[in-house]
């Protein structure tokens, strides 16, 4: 059982009892959807429908529906892919690394963050599929035994490493997320009055009894999975960065990419978690579970990773100059001053300057300011990938091939599709599954709310 100092502010406010927690979280699943949820879900589904139309055009007519060309072979597709993968990282970091470091504050956000990870990886995967010229052959990069004359994949290709990294990541994240949900599903099962939901949640909870043996196994597996996931936090984006770093293209061929990408991923992931949590806590009235304290902790992580990313940006410029390589130097001059200067400076403003505001405690603890910063950071991180991919490709070695990339409405539509998909999944999750890990929150509520619970007769604490 968790023991924390009385001096520390409680992680869960509002003097919640264990029953309050169960009720607050489970009732979201049990009640009829509220109007806010219905509105949000409808908008997401409509966006998804439009996005699916654009995706249909891409799949039916070909990638020519996008704005790519002979010089810029990747643009929004891989930008979106890396962006979504990056966003996913916060979930794993929160659930795995913070778990190993016994950061108890994570308990109220890890469920939603992990869900976000999974949905983000699904969105990212949708771009892997859509960006392929022949998506119906998408299984070819898998090393499957086949009848094509013992054709094997190219283990030298970072794209194959990507396949391994992302599929591992996705499966581990799914298992971790689901496993963590089993006790809560059992809680919902136990509270269910409707036989259908009792059956469904009953099946989903795998016969959880809540016995000591169950808990012991649950904790061991959680620890093992946390141990497995921890390297993934670092490895997945490292490998994604190698898609660029192992190439010969100036602006891509950079050894700094792995740490820079990982930091960027956590940076954008935390920003996305913040965006989502701020909305969820407002819609579901979870202010006592996701407190200003949580927001401040996450903001601190954003400052740190934002500074790492900023340092990486400057280091790249330094190295480009210091290397004396003509092509590399030009690439970076072109990034900052070429036709895509606006993308570069959007990235710098959003990613390097805006997080610095969070050094100010007042801003760090302001929900509105945090919400704005979190969105700006995500815009900035999207631009970071766009800058890396497009501004490096569009002016590479031979000036004769230099070209501009202009997106089409289908590019935008396929990007919207991922948003539609993400939010549709997220809202479904928020409606049908417990958004906060009740079991783990209960574990910390006793100690962290002890002071409050001892004085819970005081009317000022009754909500």
């Amino acid at each position: 059982m968790h023991i924390s100092s009385h001096v520390r502010p409680p992680l869960i406010t509002g003097g919640k009892t264990l029953h309050d927690i169960t009720h607050d979280i489970s009732s979201r699943v049990e009640d009829m959807p509220n109007k806010k949820w219905l509105a949000a879900f409808t908008v997401s589904a409509l966006v998804l429908a439009y996005g699916l139309y654009c995706l249909y055009r891409t799949l039916w007519f070909g990638i020519g529906e996008w704005g790519l060309n002979k010089t810029v072979g990747w643009a929004w597709d891989i930008t979106n892919f890396v962006w979504w993968i990056g966003i996913g990282h916060a979930g794993t970091l929160i659930s795995a690394i913070l778990m190993l470091f016994r950061q108890k504050w994570r308990t109220s956000i890890n469920r939603a963050a992990e869900a976000m990870t999974i949905f983000a990886v699904i969105c990212a995967a949708s771009f892997i599929l859509a960006h392929m010229g022949r998506p119906w052959l998408a299984y070819w990069p898998l090393p499957l035994p086949n009848a094509f004359g013992s054709l094997w994949v190219n283990f030298n290709s970072p794209l194959v490493w990507d396949v391994f990294a992302i599929s591992t990541y996705f499966s581990v994240s799914c298992v971790f997320w689901y496993l963590g949900m089993i006790p809560d599903l059992a809680t919902i099962r136990d509270r269910a009055v409707n036989p259908i939901s009792r059956f469904i949640y009953g099946s989903l909870s795998f016969g959880w009894t809540g016995g000591a043996k169950d808990w012991s196994r649950y904790e061991s597996v959680a620890l093992i999975l946390a141990g497995l996931s921890t390297p993934l936090v670092l490895s997945v984006h490292t490998i994604v960065s190698m898609d660029f770093a192992t190439s010969v293209i100036p602006g891509w061929h950079t050894t700094i990419f792995p740490p820079y990408f990982v930091a960027g991923a956590i940076f954008s992931g935390f920003a996305m978690v913040l965006t989502l949590m701020i909305v969820t806590r407002a819609v579901y009235n979870l202010e006592d579970y996701i407190t200003i304290e949580h927001i401040e902790y996450m903001n601190k992580v954003i400052i740190l990773t934002g500074c790492i990313v900023g340092t990486a940006y400057i280091t790249e410029f330094f190295i480009a100059w210091y290397s004396g390589v003509e092509y590399e130097s030009y690439c970076f001059i072109n990034r900052a001053t070429g036709p895509y200067w606006w993308a570069y400076w959007s990235m710098m403003t959003c990613n390097v300057i805006s997080p610095q505001l969070l050094w100010i405690k007042k801003i760090r603890r302001s929900i509105a300011a945090t919400f704005v910063v979190s969105i700006i950071v995500n815009i900035g991180m999207w631009f970071e990938r766009f800058v890396i991919i497009v501004s490096s490709l569009h002016r590479d070695y031979l000036p004769s091939s230099w070209a501009m990339f202009f997106p089409t409405y289908v590019d935008a539509g396929v990007y919207l599709n991922s948003f539609g998909l993400f939010f549709t999944l997220f809202f479904l999750f928020a409606k049908f599954l417990p958004v906060v890990n009740m079991a783990e929150v209960k574990a910390i509520v006793k100690s962290s709310s002890e002071k409050i619970s001892s004085t819970q007769s005081s009317p000022s604490h009754v909500h």
Binding site: G67, H131, V153
Partner: protein, 1021 residues
């Protein structure tokens, strides 16, 4: 043995062998007594079974993919073996372009034009237009039968009607004209003579869309003979060209390129090259290759030529022409000095269509003693015979109504003659109007009788291109439609029942056979000439003497030209691909990037950078141009460095109104802008006003960044430096390491010896591109397109930067900025080309890197390295991640963004979209599916064919036997393909000895080890 014979049985029934069993033993399928649908006692289960089977069978049958029938030969034609190509020599002759060609046919279909090395004129090269002409054969717009007033007819009917008319004309003494472009065929001439003899009130009018009439007339006046001289640029050490695009669009570009480049090549055994001065208004292909280039306004041309004459006359002590002295024309006196020092081995040419200018040029060449050396009237050439005078008087007669009938012999004057509008109005009033054009054009839609000609690949033909230089053309396919070659038509109408083939053989038997002594019988003469494609006598007549009072041109020069003019002038020019517009419905040529501007699918108003700045014009702005002769047209602006300031250049050959779908709506017709001065078409004039409109049209260009940005991808030097050190201009990158500076190739992460070197045991294919030889003409681009089934993608997709050409010719302009200034502003300045830039052309195809960046990144091994050094692309395996394309430093990989052969978006432009157009496809090369990457394969199918051939004959392939499409068609011999493992091959010799100092690889610093080498460009400045 009998004791070993045992009886085996398959079942107890067989052992028992009951009568019942015996009755059924021979039936393959057992009867099912329960399964009888007709008997009326069908069981429910059987019914369901049968119904289920029926539905399943019907569904499967409905799902069946459409059957594409390949019909085998019932009687295999002699000489046609499936999969084995046949080659036939033939002749291409059209509007000043002539090539002796080899036609590659597969299963009876001509699919590719190659150069004929037997010809000393075209020398095995091709031009883009000649290479693309095979596609015109499969143009679905072609007429499929003769037509009377737009309705299909039969040859019998139409001939009867035409002959009746002709006889009426002869009886009534009505005037008939036959209007044609230059005809090179002596047999056709002879047939026309027969026609004129039969109908004496007939005249043959010859004109050319881009006329050389002045040059013909000048030769008549100064030498007494109305012919063109033969030029030999290879013998000229100093070449001065005044507005003459002899490498691109003047007549005989293939012949002239071939000669010109001979004088420009350098090697350890040939250390001298010609020097080339160009004075011109537009930046032409020829001007781009010049060592010294000066921009002049078209209105200055005559004065510049006269000044050049005066400078030389000074030295020679000849009489001068009284014109104002020009001081500010750069390089003119330098050119004069060089010319004088190279007397007898220099050459001055002019593209002007002004007789007086051409007379001065004749006089200059006479002063320099060039006749008999670098140009010759002893061997006159016949590329262009059009006479503006007779054509103009024909138009007058036509308008006045004194002519009753016209036969347009493949000529389209309504479109391509400056007075086309007048002709258009007059045609409807004619009693007899006949056109032989094989597809709709502006003229023939107005004619009553259409008697469509064969495509030249369906016809017998002959040509006399120069005096004593003959060639033969033979059909390579049965006529696709009910067409008839014009020789047959003319013969029929003349009442001659001989067919074209017999007529040509008879003509050759009677007129040409006797000119030679090699062959003892006509049959062997004919067979050998037909096989070789050409018959060349190569005997030269005596030169003629110049006999003209040069002073008499003074007045005309002074009145027609001005030393300096403030007017904005327009100049009309031909594009290298589109020419005069006769092949406008050829999508390959429409998508062919103009070598200098790199623009396709449009004509436009080219203006200089200075002019654009002054008038506040940016690329793509549509301007309204009003000319002094009352014409108005709107065109988008293209900013063209090197264009003379205050001039606007517009290409002819666009704005077709009646042509196929690919041609309609592309550009504007500017033939009406052609002026007539002294009865000669004048291809420039004065603009009275230009107005910027608010509209905009993006011009499709395959290259949009024009300068090198100080990068050593093109390495060049001057002849002076080269003579001091053959390595001059070479960039040799060194990488700093802790063990000192090292060559990139010496740095490797592999410790194992030998791993980083690529040893190919059998062949190691490679290519050399000599930047000094490449003129940028783009013949290779079309040749590659034909060979490798490269789709046409259309204007919008080119704007989207998705053209599919596997070989491109990068064109860079020099910049005035300091290439060493690597600051922000330094780079900014490097983006701007000079006002009069030096130009360089660099053909770029897949470099077949030995350390190929594309190969390591493909997740599915769709692109791999062959054991012969080729970078191979396996289309079937490609999933289309485009990673290889991103990682290609040369950006030579092309992605199939759409299904180009089925997507209806491309129906009007991509020949692969219809059955007829598909006949041009090379069966040896896969048509690529949507979503896969493609790129130059170094014509692996040709390599394979050559290797198999050699293997069958139990020998090694001989150098030169296997050629890539690009190297085969190059008129400049700038591309040398071969086996780098064969020490005797041309490529090995060049790399090991002849040109080893000049050879470099692009981007040596990244150590990708290409198989393609470039030889430095050397300028003679």
């Amino acid at each position: 043995m009998s004791e070993n014979t045992k009886t085996y049985w398959r079942g107890i029934e067989e052992l028992n062998n009951t009568p019942e069993f015996a009755a059924h033993a021979n039936n393959e399928f057992a009867d099912n007594p329960d399964f009888n649908l007709d008997g009326g006692n069908t069981y429910r289960r059987d019914f369901l079974k049968v119904m289920g089977f029926g539905i399943a069978a019907a569904t499967l049958a409905a799902c069946e993919t459409p059957v594409r029938k390949a019909i085998p030969y019932l009687n295999k034609p002699e000489d046609i073996d499936p999969t084995i190509p046949n080659y036939y020599s033939s002749t291409y002759a059209e509007g000043g372009d002539y090539c002796s060609i080899i036609v590659k046919t597969r299963e009876g279909r001509p699919i590719k034009i190659e150069g004929n090395k037997n010809s000393s004129i075209s020398g095995g090269g091709l031009s883009a237009r000649v290479g693309a002409s095979v596609l015109s054969l499969y143009d679905k717009e072609r007429y499929r039968s003769p037509k009377i007033s737009g309705k299909n007819s039969t040859w019998e009917d139409i001939d009867t009607l035409i002959i009746t008319k002709l006889q009426d004309f002869a009886l009534a003494g009505k005037q008939l004209r036959i209007v044609t472009n230059t005809i090179l065929s002596p047999s056709l001439y002879s047939a026309l003579a027969g026609f004129v003899a039969k109908y004496p009130n007939t005249k043959v009018i010859t004109y050319d869309a881009n006329s050389a009439s002045a040059l013909l007339e000048a030769n008549k006046l100064s030498f007494g003979t109305t012919v063109l001289p033969s030029y030999d640029f290879s013998k000229a050490n100093i070449i001065v060209s005044l507005s003459c695009d002899f490498l691109g669009t003047w007549f005989a570009p293939v012949e002239h390129s071939n000669q010109y480049v001979k004088g420009r090549k350098l090697s350890n055994t040939k250390k001298q090259m010609s020097r080339h001065y160009q004075f011109e208004s537009i930046l032409s292909l020829t001007g781009s290759n010049a060592d010294f280039r000066t921009s002049i306004k078209p209105s200055q041309e005559g004065i510049v030529v006269a000044n050049l004459y005066n400078l030389l006359a000074d030295k020679a002590g000849a009489p001068k022409i009284e014109v104002g002295e020009l001081k500010d024309i750069n390089n003119l006196s330098k050119a004069a000095n060089d010319l004088w020092n190279a007397k007898g081995s220099s050459l001055v040419v002019s593209g002007s269509n002004d007789t007086n200018v051409q007379i001065i040029i004749n006089s200059i060449n006479t002063l320099l003693g060039n006749y008999g050396n670098t140009l010759s009237l002893g061997t006159p050439s016949y590329y262009k015979k059009g006479d503006d005078n007779t054509m103009n008087s024909f138009v007058d007669e036509l308008v006045s109504g004194s002519i009753s009938g016209v036969i347009f012999l493949n000529a389209n004057p309504v479109y391509n003659h400056p007075m086309g509008a007048k002709i258009k109005n007059a045609i409807s009033k004619l009693e007899l109007s006949v056109s032989t054009a094989d597809r709709p054009d502006e003229t023939n839609v107005l004619c009553t009788y259409l008697t469509p000609d064969h495509h030249y690949l369906e016809s017998w033909s002959d040509a006399e291109i120069k005096k004593g230089y003959f060639s033969l053309g033979q059909p390579t396919i049965s006529p696709l439609f009910k067409t008839r070659q014009i020789l047959d038509s003319i013969l029929t109408w003349s009442g001659n029942t001989t067919d074209a083939y017999s007529y040509i053989t008879n003509y050759w038997k009677n007129n040409i056979y006797s000119l030679q002594t090699t062959y003892q019988s006509f049959q062997s003469f004919w067979d050998n000439t037909l096989h070789d494609g050409v018959f060349e006598l190569k005997n030269t007549n005596a030169e003629l003497s110049f006999n003209f009072n040069i002073a008499s041109v003074t007045e005309s020069i002074n009145s027609n030209y001005k030393a300096a003019s403030q007017d904005i002038e327009y100049i009309l020019y031909e594009k290298v691909g589109m020419g005069t517009g006769s092949q406008a419905n050829n999508p390959w040529l429409q998508e062919f990037p103009e070598p200098v501007s790199k623009a396709c699918w449009d004509n436009y108003a080219s203006v200089s950078q200075k002019f654009a700045k002054e008038k506040d014009l940016s690329q793509g702005d549509i301007i309204k141009i009003d000319t002094k002769n009352g014409q108005t047209l709107n065109l988008p602006v293209l900013i063209q460095p090197g264009q003379a300031s205050n001039t606007i250049a517009i290409a002819i050959g666009y704005g077709r109104e009646v042509a196929g779908k690919a041609a309609i709506g592309v550009g504007k017709n500017v033939y009406p802008l052609v002026n007539t001065t002294d009865n000669k078409s004048k291809y420039f004039g004065v603009v009275s006003a230009i107005t910027k409109t608010s509209e905009n049209r993006t011009i499709a260009q395959t290259q949009t960044h024009h300068t090198l940005m100080g990068r050593p991808v093109v390495q060049e030097s001057t002849l002076k430096e080269y003579l001091k050190n053959p390595e001059a201009g070479r960039y040799k990158p060194l990488i700093k390491t802790n063990q000192g500076d090292k060559k990139p190739e010496d740095i490797t992460m592999w410790k194992t010896e030998g791993l980083e070197t690529h040893n190919y045991k059998n062949h190691a294919w490679g290519l050399i591109v000599d930047l000094n030889s490449c003129t940028g003409c783009g013949s290779c681009v079309i040749s590659c397109q034909a060979e490798n089934n490269i789709p046409v993608v259309g204007r919008q997709e080119v704007i989207n930067r998705r053209e599919m050409h596997w070989i491109r010719i990068d064109r860079y302009y020099s910049s005035d900025a300091d290439p060493e200034d690597k600051s922000l502003m330094g780079y900014r300045n490097m983006e701007d080309p000079s006002d009069n830039p030096k130009v360089i052309f660099q053909p770029v195809m897949c470099q077949h890197c030995n350390n190929a960046p594309c190969e390591t990144v493909c997740p599915v091994l769709a692109t791999t390295h062959s054991t012969e050094g080729l970078n191979q692309m396996t289309y079937n395996r490609c999933v289309g991640t485009r990673y290889c394309s991103n990682n290609c430093p040369f950006k030579v990989r092309r992605f199939n963004w759409f299904s180009y052969y089925t997507n209806t978006k491309f129906a009007e432009i991509n020949p692969m979209m219809d059955d007829l157009g598909r006949m041009v496809l090379n069966p040896d090369v896969t048509v690529r599916a949507r979503g896969v990457i493609e790129k130059c394969s170094m014509c692996v199918q040709r390599i394979q064919l050559g290797k198999l051939q050699a293997k069958l004959e139990r020998r090694r392939p001989i150098d030169g036997e296997i050629e890539t499409a690009c190297s085969q068609s190059c008129p400049a011999d700038a591309l040398v393909f071969g086996d780098m493992n064969d020490p005797e091959s041309r490529i090995s010799k060049a790399l090991a000895d002849e040109n080893k100092e000049r050879a470099y690889h692009m981007l040596e610093e990244i150590n990708v080890k290409p198989s393609v080498s470039y030889l430095t460009k050397i300028r003679n400045v």
